[in-house]
Amino acid sequence: MIGHPFAYERPESLEQGLRLLAEHGPEAGVMAGGQELVPRLSLGATTPSVIIDIGRLKELEGLRSLNGLVTLGSRVTHRRIARSAEVREHCGLLASAAGQIGGGPQVRNRGTIGGVIAAANPAYDYLPCLVALGATAHLASARSHRAVAIEQLLLGHAPHALEPGELIIEISVAAPARGQRFTYEKLKFTDGCSLIVGVACAADVDEGGVVRSLQMAIGGATETPLRLAEVESLVAGNAMTLELLDAAAEETRRALAEPLSDVMADGAYRRRVAGSLVKRALGSLADSDGGAT
């Protein structure tokens, strides 16, 4: 039994849910899969006066791919994303990351993509992948809608990505070109542990091994995932050589001006290992087409 008392509301429609959110404001705790919220309630880490259970809202469970855009309702589970033929075909990096989310199938069966974004925890695997892909979050409140790049959303409001009364409705990702390669390289102690550093990248590599375009982000190393724009422009247009990999690692370390220090790793270690993971990620993109979509 959770210690702190709260009321429980289960809206039947998105409109009703947004109205409840507006009514209760910051006193409300929003629950979809509950994988983030319920343990925090049990620990007493959060004490909302009302839980708004959006776990049955049909409006938030869509998954479609249309005209080069993959759109996911915020309530789509990690399991569905990992297994969806559409996501695997058009957005392999995201499907791959969803299948790697720790805590076992139980967590992937229940946890949702919107919940991960709302939690804005730097140790969560999805976030660098979403930032690398330039994904957009669509937010709604009782009064307005807005679309915002997930990178900006996380930067603007960390550790709470949303304004009171606001709900993540959908996530959209421009589907990369066919044949794009992707990889997600991460360092953690074991499955289910928090991320120490993760590097997500998606790239177009031509037959001669020249990187035509590259999207790259690093997670776990800073409060919010960092798009590695300097590394992207350093590498794009070139074939991968050992010298280029070393330069990319150096550029990554330079980009991490103030890496996180915590019980798992200090900042200097994170900076060092981030460079190594970038080399590994770029190397694996160049070496194989194992991750090609």
Binding site: M1, H4, A7, V38, P39, P105
Partner: protein
């Protein structure tokens, strides 16, 4: 102000139950304390250990991460619902045969995770078995005999 209790109906191991519960109740508390199905264990209450695994509407979940209120209208299978007519489920029998349980605390959750794994992938590799059981912690066996048991319960 809304009430701090709620009426709900759940079907657990095929039997329907209608109750009035505290909104703070976790699904694991509902199963253990209200329905006396104590085969579902509590290890951590924070979603880490998997001892409280149950099947909720066809998918395994950690029942300490689910509010009982949100399970209203759902079908739940606990470890007590896995054997039928006094016959152990093949996964249970394999755990028995391979000595996959020592203290037994994690075993109900392991069994339910393994049943889902084999339902989706009848012949998993050892890596797939380990990945399928990654949400369940065991502090006795070193896992090897559990992996052996799931392998022996899988299709040849």
């Amino acid at each position: 102000m809304s009430s701090h209790s709620i009426d709900l109906t759940v079907v657990v191991n095929g039997a329907s139950h209608s109750l009035n519960i505290d909104t703070r109740m976790l699904l694991v508390d509902l199963v253990r304390d209200e329905l006396d199905l104590t085969g579902t264990h509590i290890g951590c209450r924070t979603g880490h250990c998997g001892a409280c695994t149950v099947v909720l509407d066809g998918e395994v979940v950690k029942s300490c991460t689910v509010l009982a209120a949100s399970a209203d209208g759902s079908e739940i299978t606990t470890i007590e619902g896995v054997a039928s007519d006094g016959e152990l489920h093949p996964v249970q029998q394999a755990i028995w045969d391979e000595h996959g349980a020592q203290c037994g605390y994690c075993t109900p959750g392991m069994v339910l995770a393994a049943v889902e794994l084999l339902a989706e992938n009848a012949s998993p590799t050892d890596d797939e078995i380990k990945s399928g059981l990654a949400g369940n912690l065991c502090r006795c066996t070193g896992y090897q005999n559990i992996v052996n048991a799931v392998r022996s319960a899988s299709a040849p």
